[in-house]
């Protein structure tokens, strides 16, 4: 038995589609593989931690251009011209909403952290000793968006104790 509740890729896809449809009036669809991206592409990552009976993170990652378009869609305006506080706020809030809905499918009780947003090129985001449960590329606005869920070490320890 695992400690991941009823979490399946298709549920994560459904959550993303519902959140993007309701909050941005955008359709998103799952991709088989990560879309190719130019080297040194500027990327925005928004992560929200889940802590409690289950521990881990939910992260949304996309290009800066996609982030600007998502922010425009959520704020009902044209795509924002550059990554600013509003773009980071929108990505963080989307990660927060997605994480909240994913949390309801995991063992509880647990709490959400405030969102953390990273903006830059050539960086990698790593949860130490984490186990990646989901890494789902999605097609949104003609470009890629990646949803990842990583279970943290504490959850793994708890699992070992309970086994």
């Amino acid at each position: 038995m695992n400690n991941n509740g009823n979490l399946h890729n298709k549920d994560v896809i459904n959550i993303i589609q519902e959140v993007f449809s309701s909050m941005l009036a955008l359709e998103v669809s799952p991709l088989e593989a990560k879309p190719a991206a130019p080297e040194n592409e500027r990327k925005i990552s928004a992560s929200v931690g889940i802590a409690g009976e289950w521990n881990g993170t939910v992260t949304l990652q996309c290009s800066a251009d996609t982030a600007c378009r998502l922010a425009g869609a959520m704020l009902a305006m044209d795509p924002l011209p550059d990554v600013d506080d509003d773009v980071k706020d929108v990505l963080g809030e989307l990660a927060n909403i997605v994480a909240g809905n994913i949390k309801s499918m995991l063992p509880g009780p647990s709490s959400l952290s405030l969102p953390c947003v990273i903006d830059g090129s050539n960086y990698s985001l790593e949860i130490l000793n984490g186990e990646e449960l989901v890494n789902q590329p999605m097609l949104c606005h003609g470009s890629g968006l990646i949803v990842s869920i990583v279970q943290g070490k504490q959850g793994a320890r708890k699992l070992a104790v309970n086994a």
């Binding site: 519902e18 959140v19 449809s21 309701s22 909050m23 922010a71 959520m74 704020l75 009902a76 506080d85 509003d86 706020d89 929108v90 963080g92 809030e93 927060n96 909403i97 994480a99 909240g100 809905n101 949390k103 309801s104 509880g108 009780p109 709490s111 959400l112 952290s113 405030l114």
Partner: protein, 122 residues
């Protein structure tokens, strides 16, 4: 009618505010529970409060408890609008004194429906 929107996300304040303005509300905003309490103390004409759960400084649950404990503001209807989707969280918010609980994502119709249950727009 005047409503206070308390959320650390400016985007969410804009989205909720747009719907409220369409319903005829004047909107005031705050970025966390502490700011929200100060805002309401300084503006006694508010008729309704919409508050997020996860915020820095003072979260939504702490805000609900503080408002219900306030002699002058305890009568205000409170709608918690949050990403916390677990039923146990909704129970905690309602037990603390919130009147309605809306989970994100929500549609404009979801929000309007909850406000109508509270008698808005008046």
């Amino acid at each position: 009618m005047k409503a206070a929107i308390i959320d650390d996300s400016r985007a969410m304040r804009m989205i909720i505010g747009r719907t409220l303005k369409e319903l005829g509300f004047e909107v005031i905003e705050a970025a966390n529970g502490r700011e929200g309490l100060d805002c309401l103390k300084n503006d006694p004409e508010a008729d309704l409060v919409l508050v997020d759960w996860n915020m820095p400084e003072m979260n939504g649950l702490e805000f609900v408890l503080a408002l219900r404990g306030s002699q002058h503001l305890c009568h205000l209807p409170i709608v918690v609008v949050t990403s916390e989707t677990e039923a146990s969280q909704a129970e905690r918010a309602l037990e603390a004194g919130a009147n309605e609980y809306v989970t994100k994502p929500f549609s404009k119709e979801d929000l309007v429906d909850r406000l109508r249950r509270l008698g808005f727009p008046q």
